[in-house]
Amino acid sequence: MTTFLAVAAENPGVLETISKTFGLNWPFFIAQVVNFIVVIIILKKFAFGPVQAILIERKTRIAAGEAKLKQIEKQLADSEANTAAAIAKANEEAVRLVNEARHGAAVFTEQKSQEAIAQAQQILTKAEAAAKADRERLHTELKREFGRLVAQTTSQVTGKILTADDQVRINEDALAKVEA
């Protein structure tokens, strides 16, 4: 429009000719400017506003999501490192416990074996003492029975009633001969 005016100032009639030829005139021009402004306002409000808002919101969310993802990746890496350290520590502890358990088991086994041996020895000693006592008791009983039988036999052979002293002496003699 400025150029038109500038050209028109130098060449009167040029602008008028152009305007007339193409139907360019102020009322229609202003009306179309108003139309265009309305078009822009309407499109900005109803078309680009909402769509751009949702696009911006989505971009913001994507950016936030990516930031969170990076944070999560970092946390995951930290967590993996912590887990690996914890597993290594647990392994060391487990190995230590197993070794301790093995050592403890060996000591316990040895202790129990010694106890069993001592107990068996004790039982054997007791059994031997009991057997010895039995043997002595049987020996005493046998001697008494043998003396009684010798005295009885002597009494029946001789037909004599033996006194207590005789019986003791005969028994001792008989036993001395048997034991000899």
Binding site: M1, T2, T3, F4, A6, T21, F22, G23, L24, N25, P27, F28, F29, I30, A31, Q32, V33, N35, F36, I37, V38, V39, I40, I42, L43, K44, F46, A47, F48, G49, P50, V51, Q52, I54, L55, E57, R58, R61
Partner: protein, 292 residues
């Protein structure tokens, strides 16, 4: 595929339109838009402006009625279209300028695109009244006219952009920077060389001012000329058929050019938007400063 289907539909309707046009006995699309109301400055092209805006708003309302973060259907398509244009402009002008001015460039692009395609609908510019002027000359008044086939509309867009361009240029550069951008010597000149360069760049600045003043005029006539020329071409081709066959076959010669006009409609919308964006980028471009 979408365009093929749309064109197919147009051409099913086309013979009917030509029949109607032939009945009305019109000859050619007038160069200027016709006034439809004696008191209000309403023209047949303005009707198409409102129809175009109505269609865009209806589409956008349908697309944004149930906005969701995970888009589907219309919303998905609308987002794809708008985001594609946004990314395209962002690549051209940078993030800051695009964020600030997208409402204008987006509106201009879609408005021109829809208007251009509406102008191709059979009946627009071809169906109307026969008129008789005071001298007895026969005329033709189409009921509807492509919005961009009216120079007032293209001028309105171009000069609106020129004013916005000045506003954005001043706010981005401030007055001193704006004037320096146009008149100051570019490059690292010192001493005598600088003295010599000052008048050169002052002259270049004057040329730049003339260039800036011509831009809206060029934008106006480029868009108007292409769209009006396209419609006029289609109409002239329809009249190539002999009169006896015109009622039934006049659509045939124009058929291949319809596809071209579909392309032209898109290209012109893109060219207008692109040129405006480049003009703005040129004045707001800080060169190396932007990188620091």
């Amino acid at each position: 595929m979408r365009y093929t289907f749309a064109t197919f539909i147009f051409w099913i309707l086309s013979p009917l339109t030509v029949l109607a046009a032939a009945e009305s006995g019109h000859h050619a699309l007038p160069l200027d838009a016709q006034r439809l109301h004696e008191i209000f400055p309403i023209t047949n092209s303005m009707i198409m402006v409102w129809v175009a805006v109505g269609l865009i708003v209806l589409f956008c309302r349908a697309a944004t009625r149930k906005m969701a973060l995970v888009p589907a259907g219309f919303q998905n398509f609308a987002e794809w279209v708008i985001e594609s244009l946004y990314d395209f402009l962002e690549g051209l002008m940078g993030a800051h300028l695009t964020k600030r001015t997208f409402w204008f460039f987006g509106s201009v692009f879609f408005f021109i695109l829809v208007s251009n395609y509406l102008g191709l609908i059979p009946g627009v510019g071809t169906v109307g009244w026969d008129t008789l002027d005071a001298h007895g000359h026969k005329g033709f008044l189409p009921w509807l006219r492509g919005a961009n086939a009216d120079i007032n509309m293209t001028a309105a867009m171009s000069f609106s952009f020129a004013i916005l361009w000045l506003y954005w240029a001043l706010t981005e550069n401030n007055l001193r920077g704006f004037l320096a951008h146009i008149f100051a010597p570019k490059g690292n000149f010192e001493g005598v060389m600088l003295m010599l360069m000052i008048p050169v760049f002052l002259f270049v600045g004057v040329l730049e001012v003339i260039s800036i003043a011509i831009r809206p005029v060029a934008l106006t006539f480029r868009l108007y000329g292409n769209i009006y020329g396209g419609e006029q071409t289609l109409e002239s081709l329809m009249n190539l058929i002999p009169t006896s066959l015109q009622k039934f076959l006049s659509w045939l010669p124009a058929l291949p050019f319809y596809f071209m006009e579909l392309l032209v409609g898109f290209v012109q919308a893109l060219v207008f938007t692109l040129l405006c964006a480049i003009f703005l980028k040129l004045i707001c471009d800080h060169g190396e400063e932007e990188h620091h």
